[in-house]
Amino acid sequence: MQKAKGKSWFIVVILASLFLSACGGGGTAEPAQDGKSAGKVTVRFATWDSEENLSLQQQLIDKFNEAHPDINVSLEAYGSEYDTKIAAGMGAKDAPDVMYMWNYPTYKDALEPLDEYIGKEGAEFKNNYYETLWNYNSANGKILGLPVGYTTHVIYYNKDLFDKAGVPYPKGGWTWDDLQASAKKLNNPEESISGFAFSGKPDPYDFEMFLWGNGTAYVDKEGNLQGSVNSEKSIEVLTMFQNMLKEGYAITTEGSGSTEMKSGKVAMFSNGAWSIGSLKEAGINFGVVELPAFHDGSAVSIVSSSGISMSKDSKKKEAAWEFIKFWTSEEANKARIDYELPVLKSVVESEKLQQDERKQVFYNMLEQSQDYTPASYKVENWSEISDRLGLVFEQIFNPSTMTDPKAALDEAAQ
């Protein structure tokens, strides 16, 4: 009997301790999530940046926290799985209050429309941004994020290879015919140098800019693929790229082409501002130039933009807006200038970026690319269409298929 009693006491103790530890966990976690420990509001801020950029962001946040004794912004770095984690957070009704954002059409239902907030700041506030960027930070006519950074696409060229082949550097206002003529001259199979490189699996979102340049797009105003993606002008664009491969002076790359450019074996390739840093590091003597135009078209670029948004479910919207304003202020734009192209006209002016040999090219492309809206903003099921188009482009460029562009695009339009 005595023994059994001891046993049951033991069990009670275990049960109690289990129960306590379960409560304890919740107990300590809750005030932090509630965001109101000691009268301070905690704003959760999710970023996709990592490494060096992340520590820069933390420094900037520390500055904000110092200046705002009643707000505490905590940085959450989600890294490369950013989209998965954001989506999971939204599904669990536990999204961060403030987050970096790029794919507005997908997340629009979980984001707070910001038009009213922006309206209260006055017209000057809104006009200081490049107009093109508002298109990209909205969905269904509502502004869902403030622009933080952007890049347009340009052509990078290897100056040393141009010098060696005696080809003059490309200049803004050139055409695809010019690019092809130069690429032919630069191509040198003996030294395995290619004139031009482009991705064999281009991201359909990016690739639409070439269709724009030739006066067409993936979808028409109603969002139909038929008659747009397989229009004569679209076929012309894809055929031109495929022919460059067939004629042998261009290659496709597995990634963006940045790796191949770094190896010094590629004379030209097209990409956003992302490659500047790595090409500098690799010691490549390179220049950038606006995209070429089609014979009777214009040079248009897609804008890869990043913005900052607020969660619809956030309970601290005022504090969140305060932080968003700080994150898009002149001060913050200047702090990020080494890795992000500023989006405020006043900063571009004060930092004289229009005089910068490389950066001005990106701003020129931005100004030329107004009034174009990517298909992802026009259709409901973009991620599926993007999958389908991606497959079609791969079929057209993959050496083992080299499908006829017309046939492939007709199929995609079905």
Partner: protein
């Protein structure tokens, strides 16, 4: 008296509870992180849930769409089954050969044992990156080695015909755990058997087919089941090495489910996909279990039967 009985009863109930209490951390974990999500995903498979907004009940629509209106579903299923057919035998054979090799009494065998097991310790992400470099058709070491032999290697990750082979090879590289299971079983076979076989004049091949192989069938059975399951669930490698390409030739079922959930944000549909795969795995495993009586040999069973038979006589 009555009181004593009641007390006795209570003690007995508590006595029965005690073992469960000791494994309660595991039970809590199972309920919270396995059973819970499992049931949740089953419920979700009857909903249309675009993640960013509230789920909507759609009944069996996800299932009917899967079977009648999604060609990619069948394609992905076929690719995964093809992979399993290639991968399972290959991984069983390689791990068995490796296990035989590392159970030989050679100098430095411990080093080999470690080397062969190493891939099982390396994380799937690192493995994918390494194989990505090896298989790069332009700069990869594999095609360089082949070129030294005068062979022009295929464009491993670009040509849709070779891409699935690439994945099979990269997966079969990580058979360390299976090898180890075979190895412990082989080591456990009594040397007497081999000795008497040798006296009877059996060569090493005969010894393998007549002694080793029959005695390790239970392990073979276990490895067959686990490798079938892992083949049908393969995701990491395709996600990182090919991302389904080229031309969707490695768009495995696992990737199909993953992309439906996290790329296309169709969580309900992806749950239905996942449950269908669960049923396939369940059926396949049941089938292998059913077949086991025909080819799996348990030493204990035989000994037991002999004893009983002896008594009867």
């Amino acid at each position: 008296m009555e009181q004593a009985v009641a007390r006795h009863k209570r003690v007995r109930i508590i006595g029965k509870l005690t073992p469960y209490l000791f494994i309660s951390p595991w039970i809590v974990g199972l309920l919270l992180f396995t059973i819970g999500p499992l049931v949740f995903s089953l419920v979700m498979s009857f909903f249309d849930w675009p993640v960013t907004s509230a789920p909507k009940f759609v009944g069996l629509e996800n299932y009917t769409k899967m079977f009648t209106n999604d060609p990619q579903f069948y394609k992905s299923l076929a690719i995964t089954l093809k992979f399993a057919v290639l991968y399972v035998p290959l991984s069983l054979i390689t791990s068995l050969i490796l296990a035989m090799l590392i159970s030989q009494p050679v100098k430095g065998v411990k080093i080999f044992r470690t080397i062969f097991y190493l891939p099982a310790v390396v994380s799937g992400v690192a493995v994918s990156i390494i194989w990505g470099w090896i298989f790069n058709s332009k700069y990869g070491i594999l095609n360089y080695a082949l070129s030294l032999l005068g062979i022009e290697g295929p464009k491993w990750l670009i040509d849709p015909a070779s891409a699935i082979v690439t994945i099979v090879i990269a997966s079969a590289w990580g058979v360390g755990t299976m090898m180890l299971i075979f190895y412990t079983n082989i080591k456990g076979i009594s040397p007497d058997l081999y000795e008497s076989a040798a006296i009877d004049g059996a060569g090493s091949i005969r010894q393998f087919t007549s002694i080793t192989l029959p005695l390790i069938t239970p392990t073979l059975f276990f490895n067959l089941i686990t490798s079938t399951i892992s083949a049908l669930q393969q995701l990491t490698l395709v996600l990182l090495l090919t991302n389904g390409g080229p031309l969707k030739s490695t768009y495995f079922y696992g990737l199909f489910v993953y992309n439906n959930a996290f790329k296309h944000h169709k969580l309900g549909y992806a749950s239905a996909n996942a449950w269908f795969m669960f049923i396939i795995i369940l059926l396949l495993t049941a089938l292998i279990f059913k077949s086991s009586s025909a080819w799996v040999f348990y030493e204990n069973e035989v000994k037991h039967e002999r004893k009983r038979g002896g008594k009867k006589k």
